[in-house]
């Protein structure tokens, strides 16, 4: 009986071109999403390659310069701020290193925060604040509009296609006058409608999965290496798609007219996708407001001014505490610009650390609250899971930023000793500048949080299907 229903449903869908239109549209959406995602990732990879080139090029060039100076025995003849033998200058602009976050293999799945948060940091001696001032160039309008990526197609467009394919499955039968035929046949109305739903679910979800796999292959993603991530993506897609089909099934089972069905389904889509997330955001930012970056600037300036005023007195005390930093064979030059700058930088950072830590604290508080209330809308937690798959979520960028701060300190540590001891930076030293690599923490995808997300989708689907199955037999021939 099932195959019989399927066959005629297939003929029906083919006849009124709904199927062709839906799958066709889906194909266009997925193709475009993967195209933009792929182009974005290639740009990131190109930039990362450029970074490597710039980094080694600059160090090599300056090393050669210094080697030449050493060979001829002459001191540097230019502006002291451009002296490649001064360790502070080297750390500021001659021997910079970069820390880079490579895009994950499945990054094409979701842009997440990768368009907003930096994926590379330039290490210089300068203020650590320069780290969080590192922003990639992007038109704010484009950032504001958001990206047409695969997660957008899955979360927003797929449900609309599902609604378009199924909103009138029962109501159309009534409005066309064929409902009584269905109800008077040997197969129950319930069985017919369920079969139709299952068929459409298989078709649309199957089409999406096939298109996505094809797209991933075409963009050079290795299926075997990323089997786990792709499996999780498939499960998430199937679960989310089932959720919407089940919802549509339940609404149809209530037995009202087409207009009612459409309004309710699109209404739910709106509430889940637009209203709930924005209201939740208002609540979260009200509960845990981020401190003001403007306050941070003001405090930084204050601290910097204070350090300058304390000047020499504090500096000699500092050398007293750190005798290993005393220059060998010469007196301390308290007016040394580099030493002054370094002292100022470190002192300012210590002064503003409490305020900076507040950002961390509030950010974590917000994340915890969002985690708890994410179940208000499947769209919210599906977006989070997709970001996990792509490696572009809040957590991933926070981990990168934390590591960057840590490795930045190592970089500075290398130069700090030389600066305080007022040593010269030799060509050999250029070869010793530490290089840095970021290794993203291997986050298993099937974390408890992600599994709970999947279970939630399954639970809601079952709930709606259950409601629908119990309501369906009560449908009347005339509109309720």
């Amino acid at each position: 009986m099932f195959s019989h229903i399927i066959r005629y449903d297939w003929l029906l869908l083919r006849a009124n071109r709904t199927l062709v239109a839906s799958v066709g549209l889906l194909a266009v959406f997925v193709a475009f999403a993967l195209l933009t995602g792929h182009s974005r990732i290639r740009f990131q990879q190109q930039t990362i390659a450029d970074i490597g080139r710039v980094e080694t090029g600059s160090i090599a060039k300056n090393r050669a310069l210094v080697a030449e100076l050493e060979r001829t025995g002459k001191p540097f003849a230019g502006n002291s701020h451009r002296d490649p033998t001064a360790p502070y200058t080297v750390a500021s602009s001659r021997g910079n290193r970069y820390l880079v976050k490579q895009p994950e293999p499945l990054a094409v799945v979701s842009v997440g925060q990768s368009d907003l948060q930096p994926y590379y940091y330039k290490f210089a001696f300068a203020k650590k604040q320069a780290l969080y001032h590192g922003e990639e160039i992007e038109n704010a309008s484009i950032l504001y509009n958001g990206s047409f990526d695969l997660s957008f197609v899955l979360i927003y467009l797929l449900p609309l296609l599902i609604i378009a394919l199924t909103y009138n499955l029962v109501s159309a039968e009534r409005e066309q006058g064929t409902l009584f035929m269905l109800m008077s046949s040997t197969t129950s109305l319930r069985q017919v409608i369920v079969s139709k739903y299952v068929f459409r679910f298989a078709l649309l979800t199957g089409a999406f999965l096939v298109l996505t796999t094809l797209g991933l292959l075409l963009t050079g993603v290795s299926i075997t290496n990323n089997a786990g991530g792709i499996l999780f993506l498939f499960l998430l897609t199937a679960g989310y798609s089932a959720f919407w089909f089940a919802l549509s099934f339940w609404v149809n089972s209530v037995g009202r007219n087409t207009g009612f069905n459409a309004a309710v389904l699109v209404g739910v889509w709106l509430v889940l996708g637009l209203v709930l997330p924005t209201v939740l955001n208002v609540a979260v930012t009200a509960a845990h407001p981020m401190p003001s970056r403007i306050d941070l600037i003001a405090e930084t300036r204050e601290a910097s001014d204070n350090v300058k005023r304390e000047g020499e007195k504090k500096m000699s005390a500092y050398y007293g505490d750190h005798p290993e930093l005393l220059p060998k064979g010469k007196p301390v030059n308290y007016k040394d610009f580099a030493i002054g700058s370094v002292r100022a930088t470190l002192a300012v950072e210590a002064a503003i650390r409490p305020l900076e830590d507040q950002f961390e604290v509030q950010s974590r508080n917000q994340q915890t609250l969002i985690s708890t209330y994410r179940f208000l809308s499947p769209m919210v937690f599906v977006q989070q899971s997709l970001n996990d798959i792509a490696g572009t979520g809040d957590e991933q960028f926070r981990a990168f930023q934390t590591d960057a701060t840590r490795q930045h300190n190592t970089y500075r540590g290398f130069f700090a000793g030389k600066i305080f001891r007022q040593e010269s930076f030799t060509a050999a030293d250029y070869g010793k500048i530490p290089a840095f690599r970021y290794v993203a923490p291997v986050a298993p995808l099937f974390t408890p949080a992600n599994l709970v997300n999947l279970i939630c989708l399954l639970a809601l689907t079952s709930l709606f299907v259950g409601f629908g199955l119990s309501r369906m037999p009560k449908i009347r021939l005339s509109a309720a």
Partner: protein
């Protein structure tokens, strides 16, 4: 005749349950939006004003030092929050609000608040503008999608058409009725409440300044809603079934509100890509080092300036100059840097504008987007206003550099690098005051959005008229 129809239709609409609960939901969301907007304006504007004053005080409180050291200390310029941001925060979260005016470097405007926010905030912000641009049209769709088809389906259309009223008058009456109901019970009170909130938040002077923009806002929203109501009634008349009409209208709405913005952004990026921050910075560094357009390299330029200065004052050596060469060289370097920055930032901003043009043209597909762009432009929270602020801040930075370098040049002749200036010089630099551009600026920049709105309004009008001529009973 039409006024009778309007009265009757309006009474019917207000009696319907869908009108009541939809309006209730809208008001609830509006209340949250207005309240958060009010808080946002109060908090952020106060913060920016205090920060601006503090920054200027810090500038004035500098110890005596060389003018160049003062230039390095610099000043921060903060973008003031316009009063209408209470209603429409626009893109401000994505645009920076503070820029450091320092020597040698033209900096970006930093501190995009969106960067401190979680992924959740990428779903959108609940502002009054959002409610008016995206949610009120849904109410209009809800009220108008079955305006004609319900009459047809219940058989009353035959009766209506047998009266004195023509089909055209009937449709016009329904259209006006929807507008009257939504205007009188929903949008009107919302606009009044919004104006009230603005008055309380900003005081009467600021409110008076913002009034022309607010009135323009109201006018354009009126045209916008006239479009939606007209479209709804026309589709209802043309399409035989209510359900299909609703799905079509909602599909059009979803397309315009969700699909087109993302499409615009992605197409703009593909068609007019911008360089990475790395490439941009490296280009600026390289240009400073080797010069642009075949100009002198950094080293050559210093020698050139030296030669020119000696020639200008007719002396043989720098020590014989009546002015401080340090000052002359600093300003000369600034001048050279300014051409480099103008070339690089200019190129970047032109690329941004190419992207904006692509997005504007694609936005013609969606009246909701046109209204969104227009709304935030009038509120002063869009890109054009931001670029204007960037320009003015940079101009102020150049004024500061010029003042510092001129003082060094004139007064630092004997002491050169050892010359120290004091608060008398600091006071020569004025506080940075940014004045929001007027209505003309906004309307001039938003021509495409305005045209889009008018074209869609005209199309819905034509559709309505045609529907009126061809109205059939069954």
């Amino acid at each position: 005749m039409i006024s009778h129809i309007v009265t009757k239709e309006a009474a019917e609409l207000t009696g319907e349950s869908r009108f009541r609960w939809a309006t209730a939901v809208l008001y609830a969301l509006f209340a949250v939006a207005l309240f958060t907007g009010y808080l946002y304006y109060n908090q952020t504007n106060t913060e920016h004003q205090i920060a601006q004053r503090t920054s200027y005080q810090q500038w004035l409180n500098q110890d005596p030092k060389s003018p160049h050291a003062a230039a390095h200390y610099g000043l921060y310029a903060y973008k003031p929050v316009p009063l209408m941001a209470v209603l429409d925060k626009g893109m401000d979260d994505y645009l920076g609000s503070a820029v450091w005016l320092e020597a040698h470097n033209q900096n970006d405007v930093k501190l995009r608040t969106i960067q401190d926010s979680a992924t959740l905030s990428r779903f959108g912000a609940l502002t009054v503008g959002f409610v008016l641009q995206f949610l009120v049209p849904l109410l209009l769709i809800l009220l108008s999608f079955d305006a004609v088809s319900k009459e047809r389906e219940s058989g009353t259309l035959r009766m209506l058409l047998s009266t004195n009223a023509s089909a055209g008058q009937l449709l016009a009456g329904k259209w006006l009725a929807v507008l009257r109901v939504v205007g009188l019970y929903v949008v009107g009170p919302m606009l009044l409440l919004s104006a009230g909130a603005m008055l309380v938040a900003g005081g009467s002077t600021a409110f008076a300044d913002a009034l022309p923009n607010l009135l323009g806002w109201a006018v354009f929203y009126g045209l916008y809603y006239a479009f939606w109501a007209g479209l709804g009634i026309a589709v209802s008349a043309v399409v035989q079934q209510s359900g299909l009409a609703l799905v079509g209208l909602l599909g059009f709405w979803a397309f315009g509100a969700f699909l087109v913005p993302r499409l615009c952004g992605s197409v703009a990026r593909l068609s007019a890509p911008t360089p990475s921050a790395l490439a941009f910075t490296e280009q600026v560094i390289s240009d400073k080092e080797t010069g642009i357009n075949g100009g002198p390299s950094a080293q050559e330029y210093v020698k050139l300036v030296e030669k020119q200065t000696l020639a200008k004052y007719g002396v043989d050596s720098l020590s014989a100059l009546p002015v401080s060469f340090a000052g002359v060289a600093l300003q000369a370097n600034e001048d050279r840097d300014w051409t480099i920055y103008d070339k690089n930032y200019g190129g970047l901003f032109r690329q941004f504008q190419r992207q904006e043009r692509v997005m504007e043209w694609l936005s013609m597909l969606s009246p909701a987007l046109a209204m969104r762009n227009l709304s935030r432009a009038l509120a002063g929270t869009d890109m054009d206003k931001h670029l204007d602020f960037t320009d003015k801040a940079e101009a102020h930075r150049r004024v500061i550099q010029k003042a510092m370098n001129t003082d060094q040049t004139l007064n630092g002749a004997k002491l050169n690098q050892g010359y120290k200036a004091g608060v008398a010089l600091w006071q020569q630099v004025n506080q940075f005051q940014y004045r929001q551009p007027g209505l003309g600026f906004v309307l001039g920049n938003q021509r495409i959005s305005i045209v889009t709105l008018l074209v869609w309004l005209a199309m819905s009008g034509l559709l309505l008229r045609r529907a009126g001529r061809n109205l059939r009973i069954g």
